[in-house]
Symmetry: C2
Subunit: 224 residues, 2 copies
DNA sequence: TTGTCGGCCGATCGCCGACAA
DNA sequence: TTGTCGGCGATCGGCCGACAA
């Protein structure tokens, strides 16, 4: 995915090593996070000096969560290594300035995540990222087109209404919440890239990982 | 699952070998149906004489489709073997009479499978399997409780109405259709076992295997 | 500035008898 | 006997401004 979008979604604390830098690989730390068991005979807790041969910035195809795949080289050891998005204490790769790429993240409130309602867009986010509205027309409304990190297109009705006036996303929003399985506490990241295209990313609260809601089997009594 | 329920769902043509009988195992036929590749070095197309050591009657946990797991013994070869529900030309195991176990199957019509409507219960099915209604009360209605082959309980509102009168399942039915992903052309099997308990099974049309419906991402234009 | 609430209006769900195959 | 249809009432989704934090 786009590196700037990746960083906006991963958050300011996200770090990953530069390609070519030397890092220590600790199987212990890997095993604690990996879903498949890690067992490399002869490698003990001391750590293994490696060279970073590649870093790929990716987004989970199901959850949209961003992560980095960091490939390591060793004399007799080569393995893909999936890190979490926050890997502190490793050398930082920085680019020079944001260069017109802007992003804004908001933690979803209960009202945002209720499928009954829309999404309250903070004023700063609307004015800095969303296309400008024609405030002379009433209702003051437009359809915005956004792509997620996988390139899938979404549209939202963006309206400026209420007393006092505020920015809201209505039609299209609840469908997005449903599809992405968002809950209150998750964050949404709105971004505008250099071409002016809108992107949307997701940062989930740890509690919402892998949660699944099963429908009910037992209808209520319904005697006529 | 209950052997009689299994047979009612598999259909009259279903056959499986008796335990202890001798059968030939053809890797070719197995490989054509298996989802995982079958590769047994040294076994060629000639077939392998085996003894049936066990037959288990099962229902797929996702689709409710019934199948038989037939275990085979050979001098130096033992493997679980999953057959389809129809395995002709193998010895037939028969039990003596139905002994009070009754079943009725119906192919779902468009009206049955439309989530808008209910299910038209054929008169013979209602009178031979469903609990008797009190026809003196109006509306003539009851809630029936049914278990699927996995033991999951479902309830349906069973009403006798319309001109001319007919049996219908209404409340609860459309939820069942949704959960089981039934489409027109699939069959539903209603059964009553020796204890008078109601069971429900499913036989799917081949076309509906593994079909998945994805929701739409793009809401229609909705300018106010 | 923005989170939550109740009102309200329109769309949809799903129960109904009519009618014909 | 039963499949399909249009009608229609109840429910729900979701858009709205009011109001207060």
């Amino acid at each position: 995915v786009d590196p700037q979008a990746w960083k906006a979604c991963a958050g300011a604390a996200a770090r990953f090593p530069a390609v070519g830098s030397r890092v220590y690989y600790f199987p212990q730390g890997h095993a604690e996070q990996a879903s498949s068991p890690v067992d490399i005979p002869g490698v003990v807790s001391a750590g293994l000096l490696c060279r970073v041969s590649a870093v790929r910035l990716l987004a989970d195809v199901d959850t949209d969560e961003v992560f980095a795949r960091i490939s390591l080289d060793h004399c007799c050891f080569r393995s893909p290594f999936i890190s979490s998005s926050t890997v502190p204490d490793i050398s930082l790769e920085e680019d020079g300035g944001c260069g017109g790429f802007v992003s804004f993240s908001k933690i979803l409130t209960a009202s945002d995540a209720n499928n009954g309602g829309g999404f309250s867009v903070p004023k700063f986010c609307a004015e800095s990222i969303l296309p400008p509205l024609n405030y002379e027309k009433v209702p003051t409304v437009q359809i915005i087109h956004v792509r997620d990190l996988h390139g899938v297109a979404w549209s939202f009705r963006h309206i400026y209404r209420g007393t006092p006036r505020r920015h809201l996303l209505t039609t299209g929003w609840c469908n997005f919440v449903k599809e992405k399985k968002l809950v209150a506490g998750d964050s949404i990241v709105f971004m505008k890239n250099l071409s002016g295209q809108l992107l949307v990313g997701i940062r989930r609260t740890s509690r919402s990982c892998g949660l699944t809601e099963y429908p009910r089997y037992y209808p209520k009594e319904a005697l006529g």
